[in-house]
Assembly symmetry: C2
Homo-oligomer: 423 residues x 2
Amino acid sequence: MSFGRTAIFGIVSLNRLKTALPYIFGTATTITYCYVHKPFNKHHAAMLDFFRLIPTSLDTDVSDKYPDKPSESFMAESITNKDILEKDALNSYQARMEIFILKLQKQLCHVLEQYEAKQNSEIRFQVDRWTREEGGGGITCVMQDGEVFEKAGVNISVVHGQLPVQAIEQMRARGHQFIARNIPLNFFAAGISSVIHPRNPHVPTIHFNYRYFELVDVDGTIHWWYGGLVLMFKMKMIIRLFVFLSFSGTDLTPYYLNENDCKHFHLSLKKTCDKHDSSYYSKFKKWCDDYFNINYRSNERRGIGGIFFDDLNQPNQESCFSFVKACANTVIPSYIPLIKTNYQRSYTTSEREWQLLRRGRYAEFNLVLDRGTKFGLQTPGARIESILMSLPPIAKWKYGWDFKEDSPEMKLMKVLKEPREWV
Amino acid sequence: MSFGRTAIFGIVSLNRLKTALPYIFGTATTITYCYVHKPFNKHHAAMLDFFRLIPTSLDTDVSDKYPDKPSESFMAESITNKDILEKDALNSYQARMEIFILKLQKQLCHVLEQYEAKQNSEIRFQVDRWTREEGGGGITCVMQDGEVFEKAGVNISVVHGQLPVQAIEQMRARGHQFIARNIPLNFFAAGISSVIHPRNPHVPTIHFNYRYFELVDVDGTIHWWYGGLVLMFKMKMIIRLFVFLSFSGTDLTPYYLNENDCKHFHLSLKKTCDKHDSSYYSKFKKWCDDYFNINYRSNERRGIGGIFFDDLNQPNQESCFSFVKACANTVIPSYIPLIKTNYQRSYTTSEREWQLLRRGRYAEFNLVLDRGTKFGLQTPGARIESILMSLPPIAKWKYGWDFKEDSPEMKLMKVLKEPREWV
């Protein structure tokens, strides 16, 4: 047990310590635990919040500042060499993005583990750090079969290499302007993605991903944007994919419609958007409703949406980075209260059944329609386990559902068929 | 209770009658029951077999002869008007195929319901007869949440209409020779498809479909073949699908490898093939192994294969029809013994868990790779419930499986990675 952990527990109540004991003595050997030492700066105040199991507020934002104790602050060793990362932390968006997603991954995993520990569950995140031959790698964190979370995945990836000509031409066709013609360019991509499937049907599933891209032109100009990148190119008659990353955004999939939860979730996102651009929320909300649409199921949405965007590079880089950080930092305050208020609610077998049927739809969307998943599966050598981490732990399909007109299930279905304005 | 049913029960033992009682008095109001009256012809001998719950042998083949009592012999009213069907039964392959699949659907549903009834379960097939605006329709039969069968679907469809020019050109590119240029042609398609997901992990899942196609050329020549048809054409910039039918064949998906079962299954298929052409089995077995391949899962097969073919139109129509009937008639004798010997076996929660994880792979194959499903989902106005009937009733996904080198699970995995010759 580290000193840091002892120090923090020294100031929480005995009762909370008792709740946390199974966690402290858990057998999650594959996990790198990390708690910082100095207990009174802003970052540590946030850590205390986690131990107190109070959902973090917007004040507990993860920053892109390099942490004091690198070895103790991430779920695993950073992808970029830590000395380079620390040196570049002030002047490079690559480094700032990597630090930010490493810290957010740690924070989110930590919050989720706390809820798991509250139920005396010893389930913890399994951490897999992987590297990519062509450059970079990632950290896949998955917690499964928990009491509170049936499956929660929080992944980061930081990859770089050369983008082939065909891919560059596809990006040009999408509106990006490059000087380069017929030569490959160096690229960099860093992102965080997560899907959380709680066990209780009254707690919604959340999905989010936030990504940053850079492409270095022949004259040294760095083209950058926040969002996604899906590029396909043909090589020797085989369709191959180069980078298979989805768009950026956060969306919620409830199984039962708790209107206050939905409003809180959307209001949190709207507040974050409004601080940056008053047009963002309505634009990105519509984009989200349009994307998570199971068209072949009579345009049934996967959930109640959220925000969704791509190719964000205006008005300037600092502003965009700040917006993306703010969106990603909104995940915890927008979502954790929904866990807090619902995870101990009782539920019936038929409510559980409905949740599993809806999860069947979730699996369908991911396998049939999600661009990132589809293209990922076509990529030779792709890390399939990380790509399919988003699939629900358990799902059902039933021929011909039947529910009553005024049932809670029908209430949800109506919103899925006709997305509502929540704020 | 019809006279026929009474007559049949009159000659079975009291003990068997007792077993069948819950079935007789079941509440399956949506089902058209049918038992023929004269108890001593070949067809009725087969019916007796069902009541005795003895797996049918090859002698109990369904024929393409129009039944004596049409209203009592199918799961629902035939798609083609019964007078036309009866009149054409001797001289038209369209009619013979429709009669055959209607009868086989009935026979298979009946056998499966008998097993369900053996467990004192009141679950029966739900029957949905549907029609298609452009011509024809189908009968979807689904039994779900049973004691023996978690989900079993047996569907037939008989459709006709006009095949657009783009579709004809695609077929020409596949090797079919037509006189017609730039004009639509009349087509006819009739087929049966089925997926059976038993509850017990020791009973394999089976899937089969058999289909017949006709296309009438400008000079009146009828182009015909047995197999599948997947045609896509663009219309007003939207990719639309015209007919979305898969190939023909039967394949088995065990969760635990019972070598005798696998041998019996493949030997049944081989015997059927060998009676028609000694080259068929090895050719169609390889085709099957190649098709049901989850390539992105390091070429893991969905199951242990079976036979699979397309574009069968040699040496002549009677011979092809006879072969397809024989293959479809092999489903019951190749599969029912596997139910019989395994459905009452005890199983552990970890065996059930493994079954559900493998079913996750089944869902993946169907949603990501199966051509029929993929194209079906892209078809505006397609009957999605019928297309996705093939999905397992319940499936699981787990990040990072782990099993021992000599475990039964690993034994299956080895065969899935490297298909074996069973006979």
